[in-house]
């Protein structure tokens, strides 16, 4: 073999702590290496051109690039060698940036380590074989999980692009958190007015199948051919008959049912339609509070329903959908702020969350859009907003910034002044994060036009003063003094966390998630919509904190990814899959037994049973290779001999 080695300086990123020229020099002594160079930036256009030129000039049939992580540029360089006429798998990378130059300061050790990593790559490359992908048919249909604004946007864009969409929403209505908001920053326009039409579009779009009050039960398959089981939860109402007239909700006697849509700021009925603009506008019975379902006597709704839609005997139903791609848009939940005992831990009725405050502000909320204290229904005159409750707080395990609280707090302060002109708002903050378009201007308006007092510091404790008000013990670090404020109402900007069940869904999707449950994108900067599982994309806050415009943008971005994927009629399967050496196979069946994908079947060959890999099903994990005792099944590009060559490059005493 004739191998070329390229040791990238990556500017000073590698060159700063690795003697790249020395590594190149050492590489020239490695087996089959006929050319080695140390370019400044290998991934840049000139760097790639140099590789192509070297392939031609030195008749290379294999290339090793030592630079950053292969998770970043392996595809780039594979295309490079392909352009120069090599098979793309005749290429290996040595990671001398993330694994060497960035983590060690000792230049001698780094240089030696880099050379060894190159040697390992060379030894592996010498055992590489050209691989050719196979193509397979795909199902051009997309599953979108979550019907918040990000999921809605992704659904509409996909549907408009001609792709059939299956939209699954856990709640009885789509709309997500945005549907609960009164107004949106920085324009202070009505949330329902801008989201409502999109929700209606979802309901009416011929390409969209909506499963509301449903959850994804199980996902199998792979990009292009996923099979999804969806659990349609029992609503106890036949939605094909329900017209959303609301007669049932008027007569329902269980009037103390907690109202999740209103963030528990007021009660509702056991049979309920979340809010007037709900999509689908269908009733759902809360079984735990329904007298008929919990105690077996009532049946009022069934009596009053004009279409006979009530079905107390309804059970969950599982439906299966075949799709080619999946967009996860599961959004977020507020963290459980009651861990803050110093803020009463939920004991004080007038210490509420900002989302609850939205419901108090909203005309469709329990107070009809009037700000009234939950404790006594009085209009508050002194409202204290506390930011970063459960954000940037390691002591409650939430060290990250929730991203949008600064902005909505400013908005809520503005709205408070609008609603109650003689009120005074106070905002305790640590830093104001307002980097969006018109954002900083908006926060300034809250101060300059609406007289909101921003106090730089956290709040140590809140307690009722025994006379109807709350003492807020804070600090003004700019003043260098502790401060106390008597408040009528305290609104906590509670931090966000991944929505409930996010990690379980990630496991079903076989995607990664961080320790807080947010889904991992493929690359934090360059692949923010992709996941490491082909065909699965992310939209909205499920990937990390972001506001509405960013969520909508990512919804559209995910849709673009889906449309791009479906622009092809066939997909190419990764050829890095297992292959059976039929002669070695003794048909012991161990590989078939442990393959997680059912990608190995038994076939008959000349009267003997043999294992055979189904190429489009195999995902290339190599479990079979590690299992097969006689080494008859080998994972291409990670064969026993290739890994042994890497081991032997290091361990040959």
């Amino acid at each position: 073999m004739r191998i070329g080695v390229f040791i990238c300086h990556c500017g000073s990123n590698i060159g700063g702590t690795v003697d790249c020229a020395r590594v190149a020099e050492l590489s020239r002594a490695f087996p089959d290496v006929v050319y080695a160079d140390d370019p400044m930036y290998t991934c840049a256009e000139p760097g790639q051109a140099a590789i192509e030129a070297a392939i031609h000039e030195h008749r290379l049939d294999g290339v090793v690039v030592a630079s950053c992580t292969p998770r970043m540029h392996e595809p780039t360089f594979r295309r490079t060698v392909e352009r120069a006429g090599l098979n793309r798998y005749m290429f290996e990378m040595a990671n001398i940036r993330e694994h060497v130059s960035w983590i060690g300061k000792d230049k001698e050790a780094n240089t030696n380590k880099a050379a060894e990593l190159v040697l390992m790559a060379v030894e592996k490359l010498r055992r590489n074989t050209p691989l050719t992908p196979k193509s397979f048919d795909i199902t051009k249909k997309v599953l979108i999980i979550g019907g918040g604004v990000a999921g809605i946007q992704a659904a509409l864009d996909c549907a408009d692009g001609g792709v059939p969409v299956v939209l699954v929403e856990r709640e009885a209505t789509i709309g997500g958190k945005m549907a609960k908001l009164d107004k949106t920053f920085p324009t202070v326009d009505c949330s329902a007015c801008i989201l409502g039409p999109k929700m209606v579009d979802v309901a009416q779009h011929p390409n969209i199948t909506l499963y509301a009050y449903a959850e994804v039960e199980d996902i199998s398959g792979y990009v292009g051919n996923f099979s999804v089981k969806i659990r349609k939860k029992a609503a106890y109402v036949d939605w094909s008959k329900c017209t959303g007239c609301g007669a049932c909700t008027e007569k329902c006697p269980a009037r103390k049912t907690p109202d999740a849509f209103n963030e528990l700021t007021g009660p509702t009925t056991a049979i309920n339609i979340a809010f007037p603009q709900a999509i689908p506008k269908k009733a759902v019975i809360n079984a735990a509070h329904c007298r008929q379902l919990s105690k077996g006597k009532c049946g009022v709704c069934a009596k009053v329903c004009p279409t006979g839609a009530i079905r107390y005997d309804m059970e969950d139903e599982i439906v299966t959908e075949e799709v080619g791609s999946i967009v996860a848009a599961t959004g977020y939940d507020l963290m459980d702020w009651t861990v803050y005992s110093e803020y009463g831990g939920g004991k004080y009725p007038d210490v509420i969350t900002s989302l609850q405050y939205e419901r108090l502000l909203s005309a469709s909320g329990p107070t009809g859009g009037h700000i009234l204290r939950p404790s006594d229904g009085r209009e508050p005159k002194s409202v204290v907003f506390i930011q970063c409750v459960g954000s940037r707080d390691k002591s409650v395990g939430r060290p990250y910034c929730s991203g949008f609280c600064c902005m909505y707090t400013a908005k809520q302060a503005v709205l408070t002044k609008d609603h109650i002109p003689d009120s005074q708002s106070w905002v305790f903050y640590m830093d104001i994060r307002a980097p969006g378009k018109m954002y900083d201007e908006f926060t300034r308006r809250a101060v300059e036009e609406y007289g909101t007092e921003y106090i730089r510091g956290r709040v140590s404790a809140i307690y009722p003063d025994g006379k109807g008000q709350y003492v807020v013990m804070g600090v003004d670090t700019l003043l260098g003094q502790p401060v106390e404020i008597k408040a009528d109402l305290v609104v906590l900007a509670v931090g966000i966390e991944a929505s409930k069940g996010a990690s379980q869904l990630a496991e079903k999707l076989r995607i990664s998630y961080d320790q807080y449950g947010f889904f991992m994108e493929s690359h934090v900067k360059l692949k923010p919509v992709e996941t490491n599982t082909a065909g699965v994309f992310l939209a909205g806050v499920c990937q990390g904190a972001k506001d509405i415009p960013a969520s909508v943008a990512q919804g559209s971005a995910a849709a673009a990814k889906v449309l791009a994927l479906f622009a092809r009629d066939k997909l190419e399967s990764d050829p890095q899959i297992a292959q059976v050496d039929m002669r070695r196979c003794v048909n012991c069946g161990k590989c078939i037994r442990c393959c997680p994908f059912g990608a190995i079947k038994e076939v008959e060959m000349r009267g003997e049973g043999k294992a055979q890999v189904i190429e489009t099903v195999c995902q290339g994990c190599g479990l079979c290779t590690a299992t097969c005792p006689q080494g008859a099944i080998q994972l291409s590009h990670a064969t026993d001999n290739q890994i042994l060559a890497e081991v032997n490059a290091l361990c040959q005493c």
Partner: protein, 199 residues
């Protein structure tokens, strides 16, 4: 207050490191939210707020920090530690600073230290606290005769303060208990002197 601090020359990284090592706290994680100050029951008696002291430690401003009244007025109630969003045991930092100041002989609020010594003196002699004794010693030390005199009638009436020192009864332990305590204090004192710190 109104002075310009030349941070570049006053900065003492070794001081920051020493505080971190002795207290076991990573002060770099403090992001100056001020929550310690917000909850501090002694803040009104401070010349520098606790969050400002944390800032001083971060910057390595040794004199600024060790010469404060605040480290002497700290109540050790740990409210700051409890509420710190970065899990810093701020009270431990304050106590460390107090120990450092004392060992260097910097006692900005001598009366507090005098009270401690008065207390510990009775313990050394009797093995247990002797409240009247403590007060008497403290009055001697601080030359403040009128301390709490307003309470005396009530306290005496209710026999709140024992007039007789309640030392460790001799019959309780084979070796005189009070003397054992005295020996502990004595050893401590000798060791401190040997190690060159103020006992």
């Amino acid at each position: 207050m109104n002075k310009v601090t030349d941070i570049s020359s006053l900065r003492d990284p070794a001081f920051t490191a020493a505080v971190q090592a002795d207290s076991g706290q990573d002060v770099t994680t403090c992001y100056q939210c001020g929550n310690c100050t917000a909850g501090c029951p002694a803040s009104f008696a401070y010349d520098r707020q606790v969050s400002q002291i944390m800032r001083g430690v971060q910057l390595g401003l040794k004199d600024e920090v060790l010469n404060t009244r605040s480290i002497w007025m700290c109540l050790s109630c740990s409210t700051c530690s409890l509420r710190c969003p970065n899990n810093i045991d701020v009270a431990a930092v304050m106590e460390t600073l107090r120990h450092m100041a004392r060992k260097e002989g910097r006692v900005t609020v001598p009366k507090v230290e005098k009270f401690w010594f008065s207390f510990l003196d009775t313990v050394r002699v009797f093995g247990r606290t002797y409240e009247i004794g403590t007060m008497a010693l403290y009055m001697l030390r601080s030359l403040r005769i009128f301390t709490d005199l307003d309470l005396a009638p009530e306290a005496l009436k209710k026999r709140k303060l024992g007039l007789i020192p309640h030392a460790i009864p001799r019959q309780d332990v084979p070796d005189d208990g009070a003397r054992a305590v005295g020996r502990i204090m004595q050893r401590y004192r000798q060791r401190a002197l040997r190690e060159g710190v103020r006992p």
